[in-house]
Symmetry: C4
Subunit: 265 residues, 4 copies
């Protein structure tokens, strides 16, 4: 066992020399290189990153660094040494990136340009992409409502809506009565080709913190890890609720005020 | 790693000095300041406190202290040092509290006056608030039955009903045949504004140990942590069962006696 | 911390003296007093023993001892010192038991006479009682089919049926094509009063390893812990499948042979 | 405790002598004898190997060895010493195997010849068999569509489809638009009798990485553990989605292109 540990340590040292591994080695549990694996393991248990699907990226604003989960790795087994790192300000083109660190044998995530779009267009500190089947079902239910009614998920009068910020560079959160609106973009064969549609949606709906991708999943971002993660959880809660409401024949949009009045309260 | 530990220890010591942290530092796993984080972590895995929603508060009757989970914290990551503490008997107004301990950078939970109402009006030792989507769905199903039929969840003839006490200052638990009745109050934009409606429901239904909040969740309390937690679990079990019964077209209220007779037993 | 450990050790020593605690203290993970808590913790995560409901008992045939989970304890927190122990052959009346060991402040489980019935009438080595809501829903679906069709759960042509033994003192397991039949008894206000109905069902269906209790849950037993636990899991799997089949309009009983023939295979 | 450990070590040493146990003892977490138990424990939490159902086998190509989970063991408790080992090239007949290692008191898995079929006919490195109830429900839904429409599960235009390889000795994965097709074979009373039907399906659908077994579960294989496990996860995700789509009245096959055009995008 000790021999193994020694061997492992040696291998890691070599990698540091070759590959800027010092960027992803830290004793601090809150370092992005430690946070991404622990978040992805948690997301795996939630069914968000099944079968290597989905991913997560964190931006360190002070050091201009972006840490990204690799492609094709079992998300619950990810290690800090699996991560990619790049300098955000030095990227000329979101689709042709220069990496500061690439894990040997790794493949960069196809989600990378979408994560970078959240960082550059929204100043986000963290972006999460899930394949949650609740998200996929919501896009399928919308699709079944026919063209014209399939590009926007809307729900109101649910307490969990208060988990969302009012929008980009606005302070405070949505109210219970507010309608949460999440735009839906169509899926593409290559995930990178989603980038322009994601950016289009960001332009059209400047205050949204999330974009649904039809038959695919959802992208959620926030100013920091805490905000992105808790909004992603709240959104998944609302998607699940929406599917269950649909199964029970209950509408997603309601005017509770009227109900209260007519019941004589 | 050792440096980190030293740093952390130092920070904690400073906090104790500044902030009555001694109130939340204990080696006893059953100390309220240790119980609240471990309960909240468990509740997170049950989907009760998704995205910082929900919370938990414990009263130490002997020392007149109330321990409260903070607002906006990821519930599965909560630490004892995140907790608020106040002296119950010294509160003049449930909405304007004086805290014995406030964590630096923390925000007190909007649920606080509702927790305090359970302690002052019911002598409860613990109060739990969940956003369980089973609770929310039950209130939505009731709402869909129209005004007049939407203010009370009722179920009978289910064994798990025996998990509930008969009521305030009564001994013993409900029987299997008894009808469990949980009142529903309407949600408000600000959680603190629920307080008067919660108190109203407590006055109107003196024996209830729980109040549903429409499109929001449920408040459950008990004489101690054990009773509040196990009643909250039993209630969530019944809410889930009720939703599944609804999906299968089965009624929540039945007269099993009749069925037994007519089947000739 | 060390003081605490010392204090705890001392308390435990005192208890041993007072209370035959040596019967439940063992370093062997497979000792019944260690198995029951670890099983109950597992059952809690499966939703089988929510809110102190359900339970588990193991018989040590060689030493004529029966170990029983107590009433009213949070099942995921149970400790060996919470357990009751009695000598099986010395019980004159299943309803009035003499305990070799009673935990201080504990309450014996109301399930005790039902567990003992499985041991005395079937020679079982382990009996498990769950409140699984899949079991409850199956009894409710049967009840909705009206008197005469509500006393027996039947399913066939599902591979998991092979997880069941052919019956009492018979060797081998059921076949895939066999129909698994689980009798349903009506619930009573006091769990102990179920005993005679359970014994009646055992007499009427001598080969069954389980009895459903309407609107309550299920009792499952087996020759040893392994068999009781794996049959309980297989049964819960089948109950869940049966509920989902009902939601999809699929029948529980089928004649697959016909289907194969008519499709020309 | 120490005595116990000594006793256990001695027992293990004896077993090594008797039984080629050295084949399953390794400090390397990625050794097949360690991977199978850890995978099975994970599969148990996913509900894939409930009540000893299902299993897993890994082939070590270099050493010509196949490691197989035993029959009748609680999958979440499996240990390396429970495993069977055989030399693949020395097997004359898949149904009459010669084992290099048989655990004392163990029973070889009835799935063994099916696992070996994946290794010999497809050169697979790992094969997983689950009883996932989503898989079973998909076969039941197909069966309810009547003969002629019940032998193939088909779904398209879902992102998770990209988790599947294009086929045997082909490189690359399926596209989002591609239709994933998983053949269904009928169940047999004895699992070993499935072998010829599995091989038949492999011949008829040379590119499939999985075969559904009606009312039973699914077999999934891949070039290595990573591919088999992630394809199995992706497939279970798609089966769950398909059942939920059915409950919501949504079709499994769609032509998204048309929808996009008609909505004027």
């Amino acid at each position: 066992m000790e021999q193994d540990a020694a061997k492992r340590a040696k291998t890691e040292t070599e990698m540091v020399v070759d590959n800027n591994d010092f960027l992803v080695i830290s004793d601090d549990a809150n370092h992005p290189a430690n946070l991404i694996p622990s978040l992805c393991a948690k997301f795996w248990t939630l069914g968000w990153v099944t079968g290597t699907g989905g991913g997560c990226s964190i931006r360190d604003e002070v050091r201009d660094l972006v840490y990204i989960a690799p492609s094709g790795v079992q998300k619950e087994l990810m290690k800090p040494l699996d991560l990619y790192v790049l300098e955000l300000s030095k990227q000329v083109d979101l689709k042709n990136r220069v990496y500061l660190r690439s894990p040997p044998g790794g493949r960069p995530s196809q989600c990378t340009p979408l994560f970078l779009a959240a960082f550059t267009k929204r100043g986000a500190g963290c972006c999460i992409h899930t394949h949650s089947h609740w998200a996929v079902l919501v896009t399928l239910i919308l699709e079944s409502q026919g063209p014209g009614n399939d590009k926007m998920f809307e729900i109101n009068n649910i307490e969990q809506i208060k988990g969302f910020g009012r929008g980009f560079q606005k302070s405070g959160n949505l109210d219970y009565h507010d309608t949460l609106r999440i735009p839906v973009i169509e899926n593409t064969s290559h995930e990178e080709d989603l980038t322009e549609f994601l950016e289009e949606a960001m332009d059209k709906y400047p205050d949204t913190y999330a974009v649904l991708v039809r038959r695919h999943g959802v992208y959620v971002w926030g100013d920091n890890v805490h905000k992105a993660k808790t909004m992603c959880e709240s959104l998944d809660y609302l998607f699940q609720l929406a599917v269950e409401m649909k199964q029970l024949g209950l509408p997603w949009i309601s005017n509770v005020e009227k109900v209260i009045t007519s019941s004589g309260r």
